[in-house]
């Protein structure tokens, strides 16, 4: 499938750009931030860690920039992202590994749910254009404009602290009674703790899908093939399907654009709920000026976003036969 191969090549270029920026950015900044970081964190690190960090950021090693860049790539390809300063002596890979899945499961599930709910609601609102359902739009607009973290705080305050529907100690699960693993106690607790953050992400992001789908439905319903579906005397269900099946395509191709916002919002949501995912980790890395960890998290998030985009592209190719045409 030429479309997917082309997209794959594009993602490879994007990954290359992200990785290279990750390397060159600290070198372009004034005042050598890495040296400042090492000076500040130095006393708490053992000398091997300091040496490793100096090598990673090319501080005081006398290597040329290009040979540093080369060894940066070699290390990266070995899965070596360096040592986390704030979690020393743990490596960045280890630290990220323990947070990654929390975020992937939470954000992944919430995003898919939000997309499905938003698309279905948008389909109906668009189909019933001019009816009472149009009132959904101003509400959706307001929710679209509310920052995720604000909604997260409101939810936390009302549902956890006032109503006690959900636990207010957000550490991802009940750390006192369960251990991480495939046991029902842990999974139940983790799900219970994930509901509010997930709800935040869904409520904040669903408006975008609703509005987008609604507008595409309205546009699509003017198409002749929808009129033909009505002329054919098909049941309403089928007529809606005729329109929605086409209207959903821009939503899927716009997934990349939207995902950037969802990821940003989710990171902040994690902060509010003290959720043990990448968002919280990134913020603690910022607070602790832990450059290797900041870089590592940025790369991992980028890769995850690229993978999600590739998935969306695959779905698009499956849904739109025109992209499968032999070139």
């Amino acid at each position: 499938m030429p479309t997917l191969i082309r997209r794959l090549m594009f993602y490879a270029v994007t990954a290359f750009v992200a990785i290279s920026m990750n390397f060159f950015l600290p070198h372009m900044m004034p005042g050598n931030p890495v040296q400042a970081m090492l000076a500040a964190a130095g006393p708490s690190l053992d000398h091997r860690a300091v040496a490793a960090l100096q090598a990673q950021f090319g501080v005081g090693t006398g290597q040329s920039l290009m040979s540093q860049y080369w060894s940066y790539w070699i290390n990266l390809l070995h899965g070596d992202l360096g040592i986390s300063i704030s979690h020393s002596p743990d490596t960045v890979t280890t630290v990220i590994g323990s947070s990654l899945w929390w975020t992937v499961v939470l954000v992944g599930t919430a995003t898919v749910l939000s997309f499905i709910i938003g698309t279905l609601v948008g389909t109906i609102v668009g189909w019933r254009r001019g009816s009472v359902l149009d009132q959904v739009l101003p509400t959706a607009t307001f929710f679209q404009a509310i920052p995720y973290f604000f909604l997260a705080t409101v939810f936390l305050y009302f549902f956890a602290e006032q109503l006690h529907w959900f636990p207010a100690d957000f550490k991802g699960y009940d750390t006192n009674n369960y251990v991480i693993g495939w046991n029902p106690g842990f999974i139940g607790s983790a799900v219970q703790h994930a509901i509010l953050p997930a709800l935040t992400i869904v409520v904040s992001s669903v408006a975008g899908w609703i509005v987008g789908m609604r507008n595409m439905m309205v546009t699509t319903m003017d198409e002749d093939y929808v009129l033909v579906a009505q002329a054919k005397g098909l049941p309403n269900r089928r007529v809606i399907y005729y329109a929605a099946r086409n209207a959903v395509l821009p939503s899927i191709s716009g997934f990349a654009n939207a995902l950037s916002f969802v990821v940003a919002g989710s990171l902040l949501t994690e902060l509010v709920f003290s959720y043990p995912g990448l968002g919280n980790l990134l913020l603690s890395a910022v607070t602790n000026v832990d450059y290797p960890l900041i870089q590592g998290i940025f790369l991992i998030i980028t890769f995850a976003v690229l993978a999600a985009n590739l998935l969306a592209d695959t779905v698009y190719v499956l849904l739109d036969p025109r992209t499968r045409q032999e070139a």
Partner: protein, 319 residues
Amino acid sequence: MLRVLKSPKIALGLGLFLFFTLIAIIGPSIAPYSDPLKLVGTPWQHPSGKFLLGTTQQGQDVYSQLLIGTRPTLVISLISGVIATVLSVVIGVSAGFFGGIGDNLLSMLANVFLVLPALPFLIVINSYLPAGGKSNSTLLAVIISLTGWAWGARVLRAQTLSMRKRDFVDAARISGERSWRIIIFEVVPNLVPVIASSFVFTVLYAMGTYVALAFIGAIDPNAPWSWGSMLFWAQSNTAAQVGGWYWFAAPGICVALLGTSLVLLNFGIDEFINPRLRAAGLSRKGLKAAGVRSSNTLGLTPVVRKTPVPAATILEETV
């Protein structure tokens, strides 16, 4: 253009936006206390006549903080919006107009920036900034605009491509007009609604991003003092949990309202660009007056008899 104002969406959006602009201008001079960090009362006071929005955990006036914080929030968002829009017009229009390898490279660049997760990227950049840089408004606006131009550029490129094939552009080209003159006098004026939409969207994006960066402390939380600063300190002091919800709610709701005003403006512009999105031709009111339920009109033209059926006229004959 006045007819645009008839849309309630645009009118409401514009009204809200002008209100916040006014606050941004006069806010610092009408604030009861000119220094948002000045300790003026006992901590955690609830809203009252003295402190309209209560006090903070340290006893600062939330109302003053809100009024003073409006200007940097709005100004940085607008500057970012302007820079990003200029970038997107220059890159998008020239890529679309000139085509070729330049177009391929610029499109690729725009797509890379679209796919890269913007907030983590900004956090990375800001984490390397020296302390002075983290409180430099202009620098912040520039950095935010770096991640905000790609969407507009892509839309404008597509529009320019279709514009390029139109007759009046061909005519200008054949008559020997220089490319930059065609772009400035023929192409760009026709793209104004799209550029406006892209600008409003970018301002919205910049505001959300700026507030988020301040909220997580990736930039200096005190200078310049903004709504994001309030959210940062309220969150760090768990304001909502200890009963100081107004400290958190006031800037949060303002962000949401300003955001809503921008979304509404964008809706209005979208309807202007895409007439299909305008309300369906048959108003619900009209249908109701005629006694037709609007839900019954999908795929079934309504029959609303105004006059009695005309007496069967000619051509009526026995079969």
